[in-house]
Assembly symmetry: C2
Homo-oligomer: 236 residues x 2
């Protein structure tokens, strides 16, 4: 039998006179499907495309309207690698507790259910902030930050985070890598400053494409320039 016992599916008394034929047919179907897909699980060196996330902003529609005006239209500049996501035409100036500013920080689309600024530790030190390393959308301990737009500004009491290292993937990718949503893993970037990143969160959604997201500190530490692939090394 090809990986299963037909009796466990249909009970002991299946098929009558055609019992042997049915068992052989089940075997054949199983074998042909297994042949097609099993190679997927034999990849011992899967490479993962790497995307570098520069500092960026997510906004609610309400906050966007406040900063850009009630009649402002939220417009796409260019699509991102993940289907449906895009860099918008809009940027803001962000200001932290040292009263230093970083200008032209881009807002990504689509608009979301929360306001969030994702920065690197390098940015945090410059701005004088102490944001947590956390998942996108986990804002309980996020740092205070001011957003300045052309029509108004807002002070977010809990707005700034350092996004953790994570890999977007489909449930098929997860099967290949042997991981589940919420697992943490290690990946390696080769090169003159080759680096193994630990505590990389697995995030699964069948609308996504396989891609690891690193911030600019991680990317610059590993001397990533241009198109780079990471080697998956296993779970933590």
């Amino acid at each position: 039998m090809a990986g299963f016992d037909i009796k466990t599916i249909v009970g002991e008394n299946y098929g009558g006179e055609q019992k042997d034929f049915i068992a052989a047919l089940a075997d054949e179907i199983s074998r042909s499907i297994e042949d097609k897909y099993s190679a997927l699980f034999k990849s011992s060196y899967p490479l993962i495309p790497v995307g570098v996330s520069n500092r960026h902003i997510h906004l609610t529609e309400k906050t966007f309207k406040k900063l850009f005006g009630q009649d402002a239209k939220f417009e796409e500049m260019r699509p991102l690698y993940q289907p449906g996501e895009f860099a918008s035409k809009h940027t803001l100036t962000i200001v932290g507790s040292k009263l230093r500013a970083i200008e032209k920080v881009r807002i990504l689309g689509p608009l979301r259910k929360y306001d969030q600024v994702e920065i690197s530790l390098t940015d945090s030190i410059y701005l004088g902030l102490n944001p947590p390393v956390t998942n996108s959308g986990s804002l309980d301990t996020a740092a205070p930050i001011t957003l300045v737009g052309p029509k108004s500004s807002v002070f977010l009491e809990r707005g700034a985070i350092i996004a953790n290292r994570h890999i977007h993937m489909t449930s098929g990718d997860a099967l290949v890598l042997g991981v589940k949503n919420g697992d943490y893993c290690k990946v390696r970037i080769a090169g003159i400053k080759s680096t193994i990143f630990e505590n990389v969160l697995i995030r699964i959604n069948d609308n996504w494409r396989l891609q690891m997201h690193l911030d600019t500190d991680d990317a610059n530490a590993a001397f990533i320039k241009g198109e780079v692939y990471a080697e998956y090394l296993g779970k933590m």
Copy 2:
């Protein structure tokens, strides 16, 4: 015998009637010394203090005088971790090919036989430079950069590098770790963004103290804050 054969040192015909006594004495001396030192080599988890190098400048005396005036005195502000090295009281503004400047870049002492600016890849991108990842003092492929001081400025045709990850150590530390000068190794920094740094150069000098030097990109990627130790993982 304790690790050696006395005959190989003094020949076959040593000691005459006192041969047995001499052999026993040699054994005893050897054993007592081995007992004292051999534990050193059993450390399987040696921790290495980590020092983070912010962008900085090394100058020759000639260039210092040009930038600060012929009568200027090169003065210490505070000592660094490595014996004899110090942060000076003097800073410069550096300017790259995008004509952007980074202000207040500190000169380290003592003065050296070459002019060199050590920056991170983050700095390089901001300045518009393409410096190599290389050893301090290896300036063959260094990037052009301008230094601006209070009395003059200089254009260094080959001045800017990204210093490679390295560990300063004594020959004793090298014995403990089982490495030699010029080897490359891996080390791990634990924490929320735990990271394994590869291609870390071993540099040996008995005037130094054991310390790994990382630049601010590496340090911020691993979320290093305050006093941190790295775990030695072995040679590359």
